[in-house]
């Protein structure tokens, strides 16, 4: 096992012209392999893992129990009532899809921008993406009420000779979310194949050997394969980048193509995307801060990684703040009384508590990241990122609930209240998500070893310059 050397070099100090090391501790390739493969290949499951896993699994059970109860009884057990028919299920859906943006962003966009520091965190972030999108996908499916006819959303020839309405944003959602999930999964799996081969070659147990052997498809890392792999990785990154943008853009279309005040505004697409990246990175930090400590990955996921993610959170949080500002400005500038009312109502109406929670969590709390000590403190990062996650959930709450509860007709106004089932489903979704993530941590390589090795400084370069 690699000996974790206390690193005298603080990687968060920036010296222009000198590239800070991406991995601390002066580990070589073998040490990195050891550090990462140790976790899934360990025969004894750490007790701490069980302590996290069992409650998560119980909460996940509650998630499915609540959903089953809702399906057997009817959607009336949720708080979705006139005028707020799009209530928590849609809020949760948008929230989880948003969380699912950071992973592919890290693996695709940061890859294209040659941000090599992404290699330590991209695997875990991509896994998080996939689980978040899975969690998100549950919500539109369940809140249709009759889940057994969900296949009606797909274009198939049926006896009524009718087709789905492709002009409907909800239909676009089906395509966007399923495409995003599929492509993220392919991207994640493709990137994992070399690491699965590493696990295969180091596994001791028969079952492990068989399972990792099957999953690694017989990869041996030949130069020919790597050549195709790199081409494919670049192409997947290049198409995933607009795909990431498109997914939350399409989700924003669900709202923005309508004429409802507070929903119809042209900045929604980039605003939703920035918000998704903001929330997604916050979730990555929330997951990786404990994980790096627990699994002994502090040399791979260094403080510099945490700091970089916090900087992105600060930047995207500011873009979100910009969008809040533009919405308010144009609501006033447009002279449209309904728009104006909606925004005043958000800030000072019956849901003002939600609005100000959102503002505090999303706009105020990340401001602490202007200070380096806050960016580089795992504890503060964890706290702020938790706030950001809460804030992003409330952002969707504010958008969905306030606009719907105040329609054009005052006679259709109402006040939305969630039921116990709503609360159980929301909490349960976290359990489902965490269960999947913990399974991933236990059984799959949490860090992209091959990619980290690829960006490590090569010892021979600094020594000899005997060019060929």
């Amino acid at each position: 096992m690699a000996t974790a050397v206390v690193n005298p070099l603080d990687v968060t100090i920036e010296t222009p012209g000198v590239r800070a090391p991406l991995v601390t501790g002066g580990h070589d390739y073998a040490a990195i392999t050891e550090m990462v493969t140790r976790i899934p290949l360990d025969k004894r499951t750490p007790i701490g893992w069980w302590i996290a896993f069992i409650p998560s699994a119980i909460i996940a059970g509650m998630f499915f129990a609540a959903i089953s109860y809702m399906i057997c009884t009817g959607v009336g057990v949720m708080g979705n009532m006139s005028p707020v028919f799009w209530a928590w299920p849609i809020v949760n859906f948008v929230f989880w899809v948003g969380i699912g943006h950071a992973g592919t962003l890290i693996s695709a966009i940061l890859f294209l921008f040659r941000q090599n520091w992404r290699t330590s965190i991209n695997r875990a972030a991509e896994a998080m993406t996939i689980f978040a999108v899975m969690t998100a996908g549950v919500f539109p499916a369940i809140h249709v009420g009759r889940i057994w006819v969900i296949y009606w959303v797909f274009p198939y020839p049926n006896q009524m000779a009718m087709w789905p309405n492709f002009k409907s944003p909800l239909c676009w959602d089906v395509f966007a979310i399923s495409t995003y999930f599929t492509v993220s999964l392919l991207f994640w799996y493709l990137g994992m194949v070399p690491d699965l081969a590493t696990l295969r070659d180091r596994a001791q147990g028969k079952i492990q050997q068989f399972a990792y052997g099957l999953l690694s498809l017989g990869w041996t890392g030949s130069a020919t394969s790597w050549h195709r792999f790199e081409k494919a990785y670049t192409i997947l990154a290049a198409i995933s980048t607009p795909l990431v943008l498109s997914v939350h853009t399409v989700v924003s279309f669900d709202f923005a193509v309508s004429q409802l005040p507070g929903w119809h505004t042209t900045i929604f697409p980039p605003y939703f995307v920035a918000g998704a990246i903001f929330g997604g990175f916050a979730m990555v930090v929330c997951l990786l801060v404990p994980a790096r400590a627990f699994f002994g990955l502090k040399d791979l996921v260094t403080l510099r990684h945490i700091e970089n993610m916090n900087k992105i959170i600060l930047a995207t949080g500011s873009i979100v703040g910009y969008a809040y500002g533009m919405e308010f400005f144009v609501a006033w500038y447009s002279g449209n009384p309904y728009e104006g009312f909606t925004f005043v109502n958000r800030a000072f109406g019956p849901y003002s508590w939600a609005y100000w929670t959102m503002i505090f969590c999303n706009v105020v709390s990340p401001q602490i990241y202007w200070f380096k000590w806050a960016r580089t403190s795992p504890l503060i990062s964890f706290i702020v990122c938790t706030f950001v996650n809460i804030g992003m959930w409330f952002e969707r709450f504010v958008i969905v609930i306030t606009s719907l509860s105040r329609d054009f007709l005052p006679s259709s106004w109402g006040y939305y209240r969630p039921t116990q089932v709503d609360v159980m489903i929301l909490i349960g979704s976290f359990g489902f998500f965490l269960t999947l993530f913990l399974l991933f941590c236990r059984f799959l390589p949490m860090v992209a070893m091959a990619e980290v090795k690829g960006v490590l400084p090569h010892p021979e370069h600094s020594a000899g310059k005997s060019g060929h």
Binding site: P164, D201, S222, W226, H227, R228, I239, H461
Partner: protein, 456 residues
């Protein structure tokens, strides 16, 4: 491990040399060595490393069609999306939603994009797997412990395959040793086993047997009759705790589920106070005569069994003192002014639909129904009148209107089928029909008259 295979089957157990591998410690030496291997004329060789080696592609020069596959995938995806949306929403079952044309290109953009990406990603993924010769179930090189432990961890290996034309076990090994590797191994491996693993055949047979179960069940079900209702697992709100209109309801004294509206209830839009327009009565006289009420037909809006509504006095008087409207209501006159001949045409169209079946297209009382009934000599049949009948022509328009609305003798009322405006339109057309029977040449416009005379 490479030399020790106790479990291998007796057939082809001999480990043969499948190639020679040379292990290197760092990427720089490998690039150098790879160039030498290539220069030496070997073709079936490869470099194995735990991460992509930059610079090796320039040496090995093994270009790939992968980007082109992806380009094709992208085109296929885009075409699929456009064709799918156009064919379903624009061609097969056009629907207009929110004022957009059936196939609106901007609205197709999200799906165009998503499907393009999806198909490209699939193409890309399967291309990289298949072009790299994966999935590969058996790789003899992996039987070499050094290779297996090293190439996915921290070692870089050059392997020359024994099938290479230039391969010679000793010479190749010596050649590789000359490149200063940290070690050189001859990889001894058993050839890829050709026999199926034990149990595989049994499993296949069992699977095949299981696969016959669904078709057998289907055939059986299609050839038998069952008289019990099918299982109804998904209720779909088919059985709801609610009362249907004609069912008994113990809650009410009269045990009827369907309730009468409160007396005097008028549905939205049914408040028809303009008796001239809606009833064909003269407004002023109606107001005066409203009290004796003897002329009134059964009130159209009154409930059939309304205890609160005392039965109207029986119309004993044979004299019809109903104050029929003599003129068209102002609404109809306005309509005529605006629409002109269109309004008459509308009346003609309605007349031909509703009246002509009995009264005939010209109103002579010789419609198909009338002729057939006369042929059959039905005793209960009352022959429809000709609208040109002397008794009909002088009737006030109000009386005609009421006849159409409420019927007369065998003729049913058309109130529920023809809107008031259309009933008036029919009367306008009827008046013109009546006029046409008594028209003179001076009624024809001069231009038309000339034409008629010219055709003679």
């Amino acid at each position: 491990m490479a030399h020790d295979h106790p479990k291998a089957k007796p057939v082809s157990t001999d480990p043969a040399c499948v190639g020679v591998i040379a292990e290197f410690q760092n990427s720089h030496d490998v690039l150098h060595a790879a160039q030498r291997v290539k220069d030496a004329g070997y073709t079936k060789w490869d470099v194995y490393s735990p991460f992509p080696l930059h610079g090796i592609d320039d040496i090995m020069q093994r270009p790939t069609v992968l980007p082109w596959n992806c380009a094709v995938g992208a085109c296929v995806g885009l075409a699929t999306a456009i064709i799918l949306q156009w064919a379903t929403n624009g061609f097969d079952y056009p629907i207009i939603v929110s004022g957009k044309e059936p196939f609106a290109f901007p609205a197709s953009m999200p799906i165009n994009f998503e499907l393009t990406v999806l198909i490209t990603a699939f193409t890309c993924f399967f291309s990289v797997i298949l072009l790299s010769g994966l999935p590969r179930l058996y790789n003899p090189l992996l039987q070499n412990e050094r290779f297996r432990q090293g190439v996915t961890d921290d070692k870089i290996v050059i392997a020359i395959d024994s099938t290479d034309a230039k391969f010679s076990r000793s010479k190749t090994a010596d050649f590789l040793r000359s490149l200063h590797p940290s070690s050189v191994d001859e990889v001894m491996a058993v050839p890829e086993p050709t026999a199926l693993p034990s149990g595989f055949a049994l499993a296949a047979i069992l699977l095949a047997l299981f696969a016959t179960v669904p078709p057998i069940l289907i055939i059986r079900k299609r050839n038998t009759f069952v008289d019990v209702p099918r299982i109804h697992p998904v209720q779909d709100m088919d059985f709801q705790p609610k009362f249907k209109p004609q069912k008994v309801n113990e809650f009410f004294a009269d045990k009827r589920t369907i309730r009468n509206p409160v007396t005097g209830t008028i549905a939205r839009g049914d408040l028809e106070t303009d008796v001239h327009y809606f009833e064909g009565l003269d407004s002023a006289s109606t107001v005066a005569a409203i009290k004796n009420a003897s002329f009134l037909d059964p009130a159209p809006n009154a409930a059939p069994v309304a205890p609160a509504n005392p039965a109207a006095p029986a119309p004993a008087a044979p004299v019809d003192n109903t104050p029929y409207a003599k003129d068209f209501p102002p609404q109809v006159i306005d309509k005529l002014k605006v629409d002109g001949i269109k309004f008459v045409k509308r009346g003609q169209e309605r007349f031909n639909i509703y009246c002509a079946a009995c009264h005939g297209l010209e109103g002579a009382g010789d419609g198909l129904v009338a002729r057939r009934a006369t042929e059959l000599e039905q005793p209960t049949w009352v022959k429809p009148l000709s609208i040109h009948d002397d008794g009909v022509v002088p009737q006030p328009v109000g009386k005609v209107f009421r006849t159409i609305s409420h019927g007369i003798r065998k003729m049913p009322g058309y109130e529920s089928q023809i809107m008031p405006e259309d009933r008036w339109a029919i009367i306008v057309y009827m008046k013109s029909l009546q006029r046409s029977r008594n028209a003179s040449a001076s009624d024809v416009p001069a231009a038309e008259l000339e034409k008629l005379q010219a055709t003679k």
